[in-house]
Amino acid sequence: MEKSAIFGNKALPYALLVPQLVITLVFFYWPASQAVWQSFLREDAFGLNSEFVGLENYQALFAQPEYYKSMLTTLVFSSLVAALSLSIALLFATQADKNIKAAPVFKVMMIWPYAVAPAVAGVLWLFMFHPTLGTLARPMRVMGMNWNPLLNGNHAMALIVMAAVWKQIAYNFLFFLAGLQSIPRSVLEAGAIDGAGPLRRFWTITFPLLSPTTFFLLVVNVVYVFFDTFGIIDAVTGGGPAGSTTTMVYKVYADGRLGGDLGGSAAQSVVLMVIVIALTAIQFRYVERKVQY
């Protein structure tokens, strides 16, 4: 879509674009192209010299068992977070969509965690489940569970999943509620007249009509887990224990900072870029399909 009513000035539009273009070029394109370039270089330990090594960084990367492990971790982490936060949010949204008086209050009470920083959310959950001083860790130990997210990789994963889900419910809830409210009442009423009970109506009418929202949220959630959960992981586990919560994004950070392997880190960045671009492309195709509706 294009405007047909426009101004005829020639120089002005360039002047208007300068601030954004300069910032984008300096702080986006320069570093992004550096990342690609660096992924073909190897620096010596002091960062004084670098030589072109072609695809060696990539070869090294894909020869690392840890890298596959981080992929698996990312996969597990994102599936758990997406599945849990989507289904819990859907449950709450269907209830809040009912015509109850307190619905607006519940809505506010549900959405505020969106505003909590991931790192802060991580600290809150760490505190509750901290093996020695956590309020909830004690009852778990009393029940005979040997709970220790600082030493047990599965426990650590469970903890960051909980924190990430807790934060993401707000977002999913909001979009599910909007999606539910955009379903015309008359369609559900027609279903009721056709003899479908509430549960049947949900699965045969509401849920299919909600599928564009669900799909959109699925992609957004995966992107969220990829990038926005960095703070949670760093605050709760620092990628440990023994790398069991090191996701791909966390590994970029950890390898570059702690290991000083900038070439390897850059190669990982490039792989991530490809994944993100693929995800975005999927999202675009979905948007296109929505237009055809």
Binding site: N9, L21, P31, A32, Q95, A96, A119, V120, V123, F127
Partner: protein
């Protein structure tokens, strides 16, 4: 639907109340912890009711800082966070409303190119290009500066797309009427476009303020001096001592303080927040 009205409502209230409890509980625990002294918190048997050390803890957190290492008082971090969040929100509004104005209301060579240059940024969050960006900031001697904290985070297309989308909904006739009324590009922008964009700007502001305030990885990397720390990165540093030494009651007070501004923004500007969230995601 008329059927089982009462039961239906009761189920809804039950489920939602349960949900709210789940959502509120972690914050409640943090709030309680921030009112007890260190010994009570650390012994692992903290009561579930507020203690009497609230004032002391918050006072220490805000003005003094932790006792064991040379920590910054949180008051200073709050100021840094505020400057960073405001800078990101305002900076983004400023650059994106101008560029959206250019691509929507003008025709010029390379218009599409310029749009795509900006648009592509959507695909790659800062986390992906973190070290090269760090290096750019270092080369520009912008480590430990507000500019370094702010500028890389506003290099993205969300605002431009949001304004573009909004401008497209403004009827063409409004521009035509302005031209007949003798308004050029500057006057049209100032007298018509800007006043009409107020809600969109506010919605973008809310979202970007929260985004800026909650940044973690970026400030963690490029601030080396404690005096430039933001509150979200500060909490983590309070806990990176051994468990026995970590001052959890102060960390929890800090967590509460770190949540307060963005959560208040969501609650008090709920409508703008929802609008911003829904529209930036389209």
């Amino acid at each position: 639907m008329v059927e089982h009205r009462r039961w239906n409502d009761i189920v809804a209230y039950l489920v939602l109340t349960l949900g709210v409890l789940l959502v509120v509980f972690p914050v409640y625990v943090a709030l309680i912890a921030s009112t007890h002294d260190a010994a009570t918190v650390v012994n692992g048997n903290m009561p579930m009711l507020p203690g009497g050390h609230a004032l002391e803890n918050y006072y220490r957190a805000i003005f003094v800082g932790g006792s064991r290492a040379s920590r910054e008082p949180v008051g200073h971090m709050l100021i840094n966070s505020f400057i960073m969040a405001m800078g990101i929100a305002l900076g983004k509004i400023f650059i994106s409303i101008l560029s959206a104005y250019a691509v929507v209301y003008f025709r010029f060579p390379f218009r599409k190119t310029a749009f795509w240059i900006i648009f592509i940024t959507l695909m790659l969050p800062v986390e992906v290009r973190i070290y090269p960006t760090y290096k750019v900031i270092a080369d520009l001697k912008m480590l430990d500066t507000y500019g370094g904290l702010i500028l890389p985070l506003i290099a993205s297309a969300t605002g431009t797309l949001l304004f573009r989308q909004f401008f497209m909904t403004i009827p063409d006739e409004l521009l035509e009427a302005s031209r007949i009324d003798g308004a050029g590009p500057y006057r049209f922008f100032k007298d018509t476009l800007l006043p009409l964009s107020v809600t969109t700007m506010a919605a973008l502001f809310v979202i970007q303020f929260i985004y800026g305030w909650n940044q973690y990885l970026w400030p963690l990397l490029i601030t080396t001096q404690d005096s430039m720390q933001t509150i979200v990165t500060g909490i983590k540093k309070m806990l990176t001592t051994t468990d026995e030494l970590a001052e959890w009651q102060l960390a929890m007070a800090t967590a509460i303080l770190a949540m307060l501004p963005p959560v208040a923004v969501v609650i008090f500007m709920q409508r703008l927040f929802v609008r911003g969230l829904v529209e930036t995601e389209k």
